[in-house]
Symmetry: C3
Subunit: 212 residues, 3 copies
């Protein structure tokens, strides 16, 4: 049951971090779905898709057991977070910006866990970094497709780019022998810092519009 | 080839029921796609997605062999049902409500087969019940996304909720030792009854619209 | 490493053909995404989805290792083709029709490789032919969904139909003992010829619109 001693705190920390990321993404899904006349079930589905979609796609592509099937704590966390958000928002008006910070933390955590999961099954470096990005952003893409909108991640401030930069740093650090814990810390800090800076300074990628 | 004697009729009944559900959902997909200027192929794709999408997602998530790849009878059934519907609707005008009854039967059958398939590979109770719901409703969600619409299941009368209630009853009955056949009957009857009652009495879940 | 001598040139040719098809589809994805105000990342995602989506769905459904995870050359090819297209189109105005020929070649190549991949894992004939179609057209469907549009493949000139016809010919020829190389050539030529003829002569499937 136990890994070797030095890994335990990291494993536990990553597990709790992943649960927090799931809860935060579920909440963000409910807030997004709330702009449509969805019923309670529709919102739970959007919350689940937003919270679990990225990790599910990663696990299916890597042919691992899907994480929330192996451990239904994730599923319960996502459903509870969605219902609590639903209940709270009916009573209290929350400023939309309130969720930018936990959402950025969720992006950082999902990027770390997605990249490490891919490396642990022997994926090559470019695939591993892309799995980090998929884990971080795919849930939000599905959320927006279910709401029949162009995915926000394609048009807004740096988001996936922050995730990809962090994932590449994690892959690079581990390739040169840095321990998993420090590599995770560096990756997560970079993603979080880049994303928050992008929000504050309105950093965006160049936009491409074809000439008509 | 043969299971033990007492299971045979149940297995056979569930197999025929699943084929009927596939056919009904394919027909419903064609009727939905018919509101868009799709060509014949587009309609076959929507019919296949509506009929096979839920079970495919369930099987991919559970890492089982996808059911219509293991047995292409399902695929043939879906294609034939789609083509027949296409041919019939060009000649006869069918009232839209005609499909509500078979669609409800399909929902009940898919919920039973999806939940039992998940239990048979050892999925925990919450995951198993969710697989029943996914099998029942995901096809319709894909159908609506392909038609570029907000999924109907998120906004209409009780649908997924009926499926989830039935799936939870099935999981609970089997946990307390009720045989698979009776549990399936109770689950299917509950889903069918709830769905039909929801249509007749216009039962809906509370709708959530965030304040602007 | 080496297969038996007579297969080597065919394998090498199919590998190069698949890389070309991936590059062409990535380019087509960028050109499509360019009609929306996507940023650079959004375009890379659409390019990857268009280029790799069909083969990924095929591999997940068949429970094979996803091709671009097993060999990340595909992934690099798709990213490079997307970036080069992005750079070129910002400078030079390309006529949209320029991409119809390579796109048709890509459809033919993907149909061949998808059908043969399915046959190689023992899929039955109808499933195998459908896998060829999925490999050929699913990337374009995902591309259009990400761009929040009704998939073009459902409404335009013969496209998936050409793919399906070729896939059925390939399955049929191999069933009667024709070698893989000749069957691939016949299949690819048929798909390419049908698709080009459909563009030139505006061949379309009957469109179905339900009476209101």
């Amino acid at each position: 049951m136990l890994c070797s001693r030095p890994m335990m705190p990291l494993d536990t920390a990553l597990y709790i971090a992943a649960l927090v990321a799931v809860a935060v993404n579920a909440s963000a899904g409910v807030l997004e779905a709330g702009r449509r006349p969805f019923d309670l079930f529709g919102m739970v589905v959007v919350a689940l898709a937003a919270a679990l979609g990225g990790g599910s796609l990663r696990d299916v592509l890597l042919d691992r057991t899907v994480f929330w099937i192996a451990d239904q704590t994730y599923l319960l966390t996502a459903i509870l977070a969605g219902l609590v958000t639903f209940a709270v928002v009916r009573v209290v008006r929350l400023p939309a910006k309130l969720f930018l910070l936990p959402d950025a933390i969720g992006l950082a955590l999902f990027t770390v866990s997605g990249t490490q999961a891919a490396l642990s099954v022997g994926a090559p470096w470019l695939v591993a970094s892309l799995m980090g990005v998929i884990t971080g952003v795919f849930g939000g893409i599905v959320r927006d497709i279910l709401c029949n909108e162009v995915p926000l991640v394609f048009t807004g401030q740096l988001y996936a780019t922050a995730s990809w930069a962090g994932a590449l740093v994690l892959v690079g650090l581990m390739a040169v022998g840095v321990s998993a814990g420090w590599a995770a810390l560096a990756c997560g800090s970079l993603v979080l810092g880049l994303r928050l800076a992008a929000i504050v300074f309105d950093w965006r990628l160049p936009v491409f519009v074809a000439r008509p």
